[in-house]
């Protein structure tokens, strides 16, 4: 899997992901032949006012691709550009959300788009240094990124006085150590500073107090990589409307969805915002083995699960998915067919959050383990009738009470799985009828003592 024979890009609009037909798309040569670095060059040569670029991004309706959907145009405008001292742009390539693999492909196949996007970000926000924090397990993407940076430095696209503009931009990559929590932006900053990766309490936000206490803007890989294409605007320089028109009212452009699970053709699909889910499913070859669709997690394991009938009516954009009970999240579409055991799925997801909780604040540290242990008991036939109420109550007591969103992420699947599939959980609890089996209860109490 070290060369491009393994290509998971199934469909693309050439914004973040290159056309699969481009040979060695990750090289500088291939990137430049397809319009790469034109935006950076023009911005620097013309000294485009930074507010113009921010306005273009705002017009384009680009929403942040990390999961929260916060528009980068607005985020960039928060940076105290005039503040003295060092400022930073940081790219979050710590792609750890179960089901997501889009940033990995951007790094593997289109690293120069990210470099160009970050350099433009640095120019706009007055930051002469950038860091790209890459997930610990991403060795191949890390090597591609490093190679691309070497090319960029050699070509004078990174470093001092770019295009004689007086603007310096240095970029560094940092390989994480495999902690999911370091994808949370403030934990990422802590980790980058060499500390234990634990989220900081906000406020202050990174724009005021970020890396090493300096103003910092953190964006997702896909967000940065979208910027050059948005500025090029298919020949209509800086026309935000181009990107906007690709999408829907509340979310412009195209976005990469990582489709995985029970489909014939899993992979990354860069599609227009607002594309009906049913079309995406069709592109992915439909549910595998001719089976029926049971459920979909449309945005990575942290967003609520959607039953088949709900998701088949939804479009792949923020508003539509929200209206149908879930969220775009990081765009990781997990397809589950009719044979899927929902109890087992939730048990596995809860194990993930239990394992990845950083342990800093109480509800998440204590609650995620509790959720997992209850689910593990239910799944192994040791559930008791009160378990489901307890489960839901514990999830509710984690949600909204923690420093970062990992607590919410652990709670939401529990809530949504119980909402839609409670009967499957009840079926696994022997005495779910409500006739509490004293024998089983006593046994549990004895175990706990």
């Amino acid at each position: 899997m070290t060369d491009n024979t393994f290509n998971t890009v199934r469909k693309t609009f050439n914004v973040c992901l290159p056309d699969p037909s481009i040979e060695q798309s990750w090289t500088l040569k291939a990137y430049q032949e397809n319009g790469g670095y034109q935006a950076l060059e023009r911005v620097l040569r013309e000294q485009t006012p930074h507010t113009d670029i921010i306005n273009t991004l705002k017009t384009s309706n680009l929403r942040g691709r990390g999961g929260a959907g916060f528009p980068p145009g607005i985020k960039w405008s928060f940076m105290p550009r005039a503040a003295e001292g060092q400022k930073y742009v940081v790219c979050n390539s710590d792609e750890g959300e179960p089901g997501t693999c889009k940033d990995r492909d951007i790094l593997r196949l289109n690293p120069h788009a990210l470099i160009e996007g970050m350099a433009i970000g640095g120019y706009v926000m007055g930051a002469s240094k950038g860091y790209n924090y890459i997930r610990g397990e991403f060795w191949e993407p890390y090597e591609r990124m490093e190679a691309a940076m070497k090319e960029a430095y050699e070509a004078g696209l990174l470093g001092e006085n770019l295009f004689d503009s007086g603007f310096d931009f240095d970029l560094y990559t940092h390989l994480g150590a495999g902690a999911y929590i370091c994808g949370e932006e403030t934990a990422l900053l802590e980790s980058l500073e060499g500390k234990k990766g634990q989220p900081r309490f906000k406020p202050p936000f990174p724009a005021a107090f970020g890396l090493y206490g300096k103003p910092t803007t953190i964006n997702n890989t896909e967000s940065f990589a979208s910027v050059p294409a948005i500025l090029r605007a298919d020949g209509n320089w800086m026309d935000g409307e181009w990107f906007k028109a690709l999408g829907v009212e509340n979310a412009g452009g195209v976005k990469v969805f990582s489709v995985s699970g029970h489909v014939e053709r899993p992979g990354n699909y860069e599609i227009k915002m607002g594309t009906p889910f049913s079309e995406l499913l069709e592109m992915a070859g439909g549910v595998w083995k001719g089976r029926k669709l049971k459920a979909v997690i449309p945005g990575g394991s942290s967003v609520p699960v959607m039953p088949a009938d709900a998701v088949m009516q939804a479009n792949m954009d923020y508003d539509s998915l929200r209206d149908h009970g879930s969220a775009v999240g990081a765009g990781s579409v997990i397809i589950m067919d009719e044979t899927t055991d929902m109890v087992k799925v939730l048990e596995r997801l809860s194990y993930f959050y239990h394992e990845e909780s950083c342990g800093q604040c109480t509800p998440c540290r204590e609650g995620t383990g509790w959720l997992y242990r209850i689910l593990h008991r239910i799944n192994t036939g040791k559930g008791v009738s009160k378990d489901l109420d307890t489960l839901l109550d514990v999830a509710n007591r984690i949600e909204g009470r923690t420093i970062c969103a990992l607590g919410d992420a652990a709670a939401w699947p529990v809530q949504s799985f119980l909402k839609h599939y409670r009967h499957e959980f009840e079926a696994k609890i022997v005495d779910a009828s409500g006739n509490t089996s004293d024998q089983s209860k006593n046994k549990m109490t004895a175990d706990a003592a």
């Binding site: 342990g359 800093q360 109480t362 509790w370 007591r397 009470r401």
Partner: protein, 792 residues
């Protein structure tokens, strides 16, 4: 200012301040574990969640800044639900071992569980069990009880300045503990126990000694350093069981040093003297000693002293008092000696140079109020290991470096490890210390365009080492800070005050302070300021400690001290005592050495058993109270001295209460103006080093007085290493020693020698050896400052 509403009550509060501070001030209770007024905000326990209008989620009061018009509900359904939720999470893995937990009864988790917990658990899984490691003799660990509030971690990182506790591991496997199972060696480690909101960190010496609700509290003052730390001495059935801090923001804040916390162990130790004893020479008795009643003992003591006075004169009696005596003890002690016709009275056992006694009434006092140590902009420490000498002042210096980016500098003789960052750290050696300071005075004079007195200029005369430009740059950097910064000080520590040329150092330091407007800070040991106030000093007619020992007087009266260990020149002290006709010791502790030379030993009450007045380094007068009655036959020293006065038929010893004694003391000189440089001071250098190694000596913090030497747990800490000869790696190589080799240490005057193990100590500069005082093993070396090392 901002106006907010909390639970329907309108409050005028500071905008931007955290909500919990405002509610605390207004007396509105919000539960919490991780929040602490003196520590950074962690917001990790989630116990202080409250409802804020327009906020979709409950917010932590400790991390929510106040905004004008905010409406807060601390007891609404949402707030309660959130608080109860957190409590449930905290309890699921917390052991139900309150009956065997020392924290029980004073445990925030226990208390708050009552208000926010449920009587039955829904948690059907196994509870977490965490292995505890031994982290030293002072703090007991039971980490299964830990709720991960990280107060202890933040305390080490922020306040104490050494990060000994951390939180390795992740998620529910996070374990608070020391790194690599090391021990906690900070001299202020006990504060972690007070900070810990559960029974994870408890006091090891106090373990299972009492339940908190049985204890009686007594407000008192710690006698061990010049801070005057406010302590709460707690007793159970007339026995001291533990000592806790009393918050006083102007003195000790809410902290105490381990020395203040654990010295009480000595009070209960079996080394206590409990019965008067006399040596009547009867060989049938043990060493000629026998226990007697008070009347016989006092008669014997009075007769012994009167015999010396009658046969010779009062001038042949000398009185040495411990620096940790109370003001009243100092007063009656000197009054008694004066009544005997002697002015040989002193408490300065850690001083060799008294030349400025007559010229400068330079009181050893801090011109800088203790609280202002935290507000310094720059400062210079001369010959001070302040962290071990005055731990709480060191915490304040750390606060100043963090808060004000204060530039604290050191000119010293050892590379002591401080708990704050140093701007300049000049590690000189004892022989060059005066030159360094003189050089600084010259640099100061250049900046201030003020002529330096010729005496000082001469001392600064350049010798080889000052050709080092880097060194000069460092000195001039310090001068620059003292001249340009607003709040500054120059502090003389124990090593500067013990120096053979201490008076010269004081003279130059005072000159620098006069010129730069820096505050002059002399940090005396223990309650020494009270000793000065009570005139427990020789004055012009009497002999100071060194002269008293050198003169080999006929009789000595010792108050609370063991001169062979407490005096800087242990050898001379022992010789003088052995040669005396009559020695009376008044002490709280047994000592086999004292029994070799004393004739009468009178048991005095320990510091927790007698009330008294303490005067700290800033001149603050504070009274201690009686926490427990004197053990067995022991009596408060002031009463012993008073009755001894009666037995000797002196007038003026009719005080009935302690207040009667206190009222005899004039506090006038406390308010005397700041000392000024005296012209024509004697600046002859007495420290001469010609051959061998320069001996650097200090008294380890837990060897400084009998009380500390008898405090068991403190003796086991890393701050009480066995005596050794410390050499740096280069010197070890030069002299062909390796670690733990035995060496024969011989003083260059040939008078003293001892055998000690060699210890690698890279704090020691070249051509020096570090040999601490306060040990019988090192006492034979006396106060000689040059020694040679031979292979033993």
């Amino acid at each position: 200012m901002a106006t907010i509403e909390v639970d329907g009550k309108t409050l005028e509060v500071e905008a931007g301040e955290m909500l919990i501070k405002a509610t605390d001030k207004a007396g509105i209770y919000i539960p919490r574990f991780c929040y602490h007024d003196k520590l950074s905000v962690a917001a990790n326990c989630r116990m202080c969640l409250v409802e804020v209008e327009k906020a979709p989620k409950p917010l932590p009061a400790c991390a929510t800044p106040i905004m004008d018009g905010m409406k807060v509900f601390t007891k609404s359904k949402l707030a309660r639900e959130a608080q109860k939720g957190t409590m449930e999470f905290l309890l699921i893995n917390h052991p139900l071992d309150c009956p065997v937990c020392d924290q029980g009864g004073e445990c925030p988790l226990q208390d708050q569980a009552l208000g926010y917990g449920k009587d039955e658990s829904r948690f059907l899984e196994r509870k977490r069990v965490v292995a505890s490691h031994d982290i030293g003799p002072l703090v007991a660990t039971e980490m299964t009880r830990c709720i991960h509030c990280t107060r202890c971690v933040r305390y080490g990182e922020e306040v104490a300045g050494i990060m000994e506790m951390g939180a390795p591991g992740r998620g529910e496997y996070t374990q608070i503990g020391t790194f690599l199972n090391q021990s906690v060696d900070s001299e202020v480690s006990g504060n972690m126990i007070d900070l810990c909101p559960v029974g994870a960190l408890t006091s090891k010496p106090y373990r299972f000694a009492a339940r908190s609700w049985e204890l009686q509290s007594h407000a008192s003052i710690s006698p061990h350093d010049c801070v005057g730390t406010n302590i709460n001495v707690q007793t159970l059935r007339d026995q001291v069981e533990r000592v806790l801090p009393i918050e006083n923001t102007e003195v000790n804040d809410c902290w105490i040093a381990d020395r203040d916390r654990y010295s009480y162990e000595a009070v209960n130790s079996d080394q206590r003297l409990t019965v008067p004893m006399i040596r009547d020479g009867n060989p049938e008795n043990d060493g000629g000693w026998r226990e007697v009643n008070w009347e016989s003992a006092l008669k014997y003591a009075a007769a012994g002293l009167l015999t010396v006075i009658e046969s010779s004169s009062g001038n042949h009696v000398g009185g040495l008092a411990s620096a940790s005596s109370t003001l009243e003890e100092f007063h009656l002690f000197q009054k008694l000696l004066q009544a005997m016709g002697s002015s040989n009275i002193d408490h300065r056992l850690q001083q060799l140079d008294f030349r400025d006694d007559s010229t400068a009434s330079r009181f050893p006092i801090s011109q800088l109020p203790i609280a202002d140590f935290s507000n310094l902009d720059a400062g210079l420490l001369i010959g001070s290991n302040i962290r071990k000498e005055q731990p709480l002042l060191s915490l304040r210096l750390r606060e100043a470096t963090l808060k004000n980016q204060a530039q604290i500098n050191v000119i010293g003789v050892m590379d002591y490890e401080m708990n704050f960052d140093l701007a300049q750290n000049i590690v000189s050696n004892p022989a060059s210390l005066v030159n360094e300071i003189a050089l600084l005075a010259v640099e100061v004079s250049k900046l201030k365009e003020n002529d330096v007195p010729e005496q000082i200029a001469l001392l600064a005369s350049p010798n080889e080492q000052y050709n080092d430009t880097q060194h000069l740059a460092a000195i001039s950097n310090i001068a620059n800070q003292l001249c340009s910064k607003e709040q500054t000080m120059v502090t003389l520590g124990a090593i500067a005050q013990q120096h053979k040329d201490a008076s010269v150092i004081r003279f130059i330091a005072q000159w620098i302070c006069d010129i730069t407007d820096a505050r002059m800070v002399i940090l005396p040991p223990a309650n020494s300021v009270a000793g000065w106030v009570a005139n427990c000093t020789p004055g012009e007619a009497g002999k100071n400690t060194v002269d008293m020992l050198a003169a080999k007087l006929k009789a000595y009266v010792l108050l609370g001290c063991e001169p062979e260990l407490d005096h800087i020149d242990g050898q001379s002290a022992m010789n003088a005592m052995l040669a005396a006709d009559f020695v009376l010791q008044i002490s709280a502790f047994k000592s086999s050495n004292v029994m070799k030379y004393a004739d009468v030993i009178l048991p005095m009450a320990a510091f927790t058993e007698a009330a008294g007045t303490y005067v700290n380094c800033e001149g603050r007068v504070q009274k201690s109270s009686v926490a427990a009655p004197p053990k067995e036959e022991s009596r408060p020293a002031w009463k012993i001295l008073r009755v001894l006065g009666n037995f000797m038929e002196f007038s003026g010893f009719d005080q009935i209460t302690l207040d009667d004694v206190t009222s005899e003391v004039s506090f006038e000189n406390l308010s005397s103006p700041k000392g000024k440089t005296q012209e024509n001071s004697d600046t002859t250098i007495h420290y001469h080093h010609t051959r061998g190694l320069q001996r650097i000596s200090d008294t380890p913090m837990y060897r400084a007085e009998a009380t500390l030497r008898n405090a068991k747990a403190l003796q086991k800490t890393a701050d009480n290493p066995p005596p050794a000869a410390g050499l740096n790696a280069k010197m070890m190589e030069k002299y062909g020693f390796s670690d733990s080799d035995l060496t024969l240490v011989v003083t260059t005057n040939g008078e003293g020698n001892t055998v000690l193990p060699i210890r690698l100590d890279n704090r020691v500069p070249n051509d020096c050896v570090y040999i601490s005082a306060g040990h019988l093993e090192t006492a034979p070396l006396g106060a000689d400052t040059s020694v040679s090392l031979e292979k033993a």
